[in-house]
Subunit: 178 residues, 2 copies
């Protein structure tokens, strides 16, 4: 495994997508061959040998991390998408955001009953979207094998929220205190 400081390669963009938000931008990490490779290797090492049948990832940045990890773990890939994007029959789950509501969907035939599914996204903040995706995996018949992220923002409490629900979380780095 190459020795890349993952956190140091993530760019912080102030005031995106709105004033006052510090956006943690993983594109500066992923554009580097060694950075992208390190992300997949480190997440792969965390789950290698564990019983995982599929990786499910959240649109759109989650697809980048989740697809490479699914290939690394040699399992199938399931996209969890925003409303109206999936072409076939799907399950949906509505959830609350800070302002307003949103909906995630997964194809009804994406997960077989009892399959162990690893949820992947680029970042966990409040955990609202991740919780919705995890509930959707359950609705689809899967059991959650874990939740993997590149970035954890612990001040926003998402990791604790998922832990209280019984979902184990793994993240490669944290940004806290600002």
């Amino acid at each position: 495994m190459q020795d890349v400081d993952i956190k140091a390669q993530i760019r912080t963009v102030p005031d995106f997508p709105k004033p006052g938000v510090l956006f943690r931008d993983i594109t500066t990490l992923l554009k580097r061959a060694d950075g992208f490779h390190a992300v997949v290797e480190k997440l792969g090492a965390a789950y290698c040998g564990q019983p995982i049948d599929k990786v499910a990832a959240i649109e759109s940045r989650g697809f980048i991390v989740g697809a490479a990890l699914a290939y690394k773990l040699n399992v199938g890939f399931v996209p969890i998408r925003k409303h109206g994007k999936l072409p076939a029959e799907n399950f949906g789950h509505d959830y609350e955001l800070e302002y307003g509501a949103d909906r995630l969907e997964v194809h009804c035939d994406a997960i077989q009953p009892g399959e162990r599914v690893l949820l992947v996204d680029d970042l966990i903040a409040t955990g609202g979207t991740a919780e919705a995706a995890l509930r959707l995996i359950g609705i689809a018949g899967g059991s959650v094998a874990g939740c993997a992220f590149i970035v954890d923002l612990p001040d926003l409490g998402g990791r604790e929220r998922l832990a209280r629900l019984g979902y184990p979380v793994h993240a490669l780095c944290q940004f806290a205190g600002d």
Copy 2:
């Protein structure tokens, strides 16, 4: 390499996203460990040993194929996104669609001058979006190493359009004549 009939694993959904369209749905291929693995192995074999510095992929389904292929080829990954999604300074390219217009963007620092970039998406139809992405790679300073897709719809002429512009196209399967 596993012996998977890639085309046979792709589902056709009629009348999505609008009446009269036959949507080629790759999720039935990707959810299978052997299907997803075969896609990445076959695309990887097509470009293995070629001088490629980065994979650039088009939001959102392109991210799935492109990220796994970037990992396979051990190169960096660059997202090409719809307007307003990228947080830092970016180049944009407006292009015409059948009805209306759209815009793709890439970060200004995503590609170094002269880097050889492989463009990846799930499907090529008319080639309008792919052409816009290829022009954007040029605007960003890259040279195009190739264009890779899972599905080619030859009746819509995208492959020929890109070939006329000098871009070599590789696709894993075709759907024609319906």
